[in-house]
Amino acid sequence: MKFTEEHEWLREEDGVMVVGITTHAAEQLGDVVFIELPEEGTTVSKDDEVVVIESVKAASDILAPVDGEIVEVNSALADNPGAVNDDPQGEAWFFKMSVSDASQLDEFMDEPAYQKFIA
């Protein structure tokens, strides 16, 4: 699993990247009450706002971590946004995306580096 400075995680699965937010990010957001996911098939560029996530406190944007295409979204989250608080690094992934330029993954942190980043 790789981690971004935007508190997202990426996990490779069947040739695509599964993306979600970290436990730390979910704790900071507080109770999540609304999630708006992108359309499957959307072509995105790194740092595009692809997901809107609203907690009881505020709205936040989740950015595309790399260039690519959204191939699948976790539509179950729309009906159960609280899953992001229950299992942010497991069940509550946001989307799966293909990666156009694998070199963009090189800058991301591994788990020990991320833990240090948030410490």
């Binding site: 507080g30 609304f34 809107v52 609203e54 009881v56 406190k57 505020a58 729309a78 608080n85």
Partner: protein
């Protein structure tokens, strides 16, 4: 947060694991480890304990109750003189333009008047009272008193168990109680839509009492985050958001707080700041009104969202002044102002969220039924 003021319960909040945030110049708990959502639901189903010591408390005293009450009526459009001993009322400080300078609670304690005002406005309110009341009326700021609220259906069980005299109190009664050996001033009121008590206690006794209350079954500490969603669901105004100096009591839907005796034709009509403006609003109606708003989808519509009369094009007909997720409603809820033709319950308008117009219906307030002890 070193330059922020602290309430007498600051150390306890930190010990309880609260997330402290700046609010009206104070470091206040926005949530505890339970989290906003569960804290909200806990208050609706059991009892939530709130620190509201940042609010301003002042005692007004003078040669007689009549002198105090008549003097205070020059500052508020409320019936103060008619307040029975041991009763409390909701009130508003108005300005010459008929706008609201602050909302407040005032309670008659014998010949004295206890006034509780918002934290952000308290310096201005104390100055307003000192300047606007005759010399014979003393305004004593009670900075040495803390204020806590215990709210929710289990609040009465807890307080009545500690002092059975509390069982005689109805909604908006005030009384002296003895809780765990502490002599306190209690009122049966709050700002959550639930039954409950607000308890004024000497600052140096507050932590001991709160620790005792927290050992009671069903009592949990609740932060400002849940306080906000609770009052929003209850349809209650937050000063500086839903009401302000540019908003009058009639458009705010607070005409009920202006008793008949202070309205045109009443025995003590007028005589407060902006009385002519407010009298005209009462008689002629107003161009915009505060309404409840229930978004059709799941997306919260927060403060500042603009409301339109059509999904595309059309005109802006209002603005959201408070909004978010209502944990008891299990969906988004909001309040805002719309033009009079759009103020009827059931009217469809569209709120612009992130560039998209989403459907939202004008809804009756409160969103959850009030649970007061009448």
């Amino acid at each position: 947060m070193t330059d922020l003021a602290r309430t007498p319960l600051y150390e306890l909040h930190v010990e309880l694991g609260a997330k402290m945030v700046p609010f009206a110049g104070y470091a206040m708990p926005v949530q505890y480890p339970m989290g906003v959502l569960k804290e909200h639901l806990h208050t609706r189903s059991a009892a939530g304990l709130f620190d509201v010591s940042h609010m301003g408390q002042a005692m007004l005293s003078g040669p007689s109750w009549e002198a105090v009450a008549e003097a205070f009526e020059a500052l508020v459009p409320m019936d103060v003189l008619g307040l029975d001993d041991g009763r409390q009322r909701y009130g508003l400080f108005t300005n010459d333009a008929g706008g609201i300078e602050d909302d407040l609670m005032f309670a008659r304690r014998g010949d004295e008047l206890l006034v509780v005002v918002n934290a952000a406005c308290k310096a201005a309110d104390f100055a307003r009272m000192r300047a606007g009341l005759p010399d014979e009326i003393a305004v004593t700021e009670l900075a040495d008193r803390a204020l806590i609220a215990l709210q929710g259906p289990a609040a009465a069980v807890v307080i009545e168990d500690l002092d059975p005299a509390a069982s005689d109190m109805r909604f908006m009664d005030v009384a002296d109680l003895s809780l765990c050996g502490h002599a306190v001033w209690a009122s049966r009121s709050g700002y959550t839509g639930e039954d409950g008590f607000e308890i004024s206690i000497p600052a140096d006794e507050a932590e001991t009492l709160v620790r005792s209350l927290l050992t009671q079954r069903d009592v949990a500490p609740i932060g400002l985050g849940a306080r906000d969603s609770l009052r929003l669901e209850a349809g209650l105004c937050l000063y500086g958001h839903d009401i302000d100096a540019m908003t009058g009591p009639v458009e705010a839907g607070l005409s009920w707080a202006v008793q008949r005796v202070r309205r045109p034709g009443g025995a003590r009509a007028g005589g407060y700041p902006g009385a002519d403006v407010i009298a005209e609003a009462l008689a002629q109606g107003v161009a915009r009104q505060r309404v409840g708003l229930r978004p059709e989808g799941r997306a919260p519509m927060r403060e500042g969202v603009q409301l339109f009369d059509a999904e595309e094009g059309g005109a802006q007909v209002g603005t959201v002044t408070s909004g978010g997720y209502g944990p008891s409603v299990e969906g988004p809820v909001a309040m805002g102002y719309v033009t009079a033709p759009h103020a009827a319950v059931g009217t469809r308008v569209w709120g612009e969220v992130r560039g998209k117009r989403l459907p939202v219906d004008v809804a009756a307030l409160p969103f959850v039924p009030a649970n007061f002890k009448r």
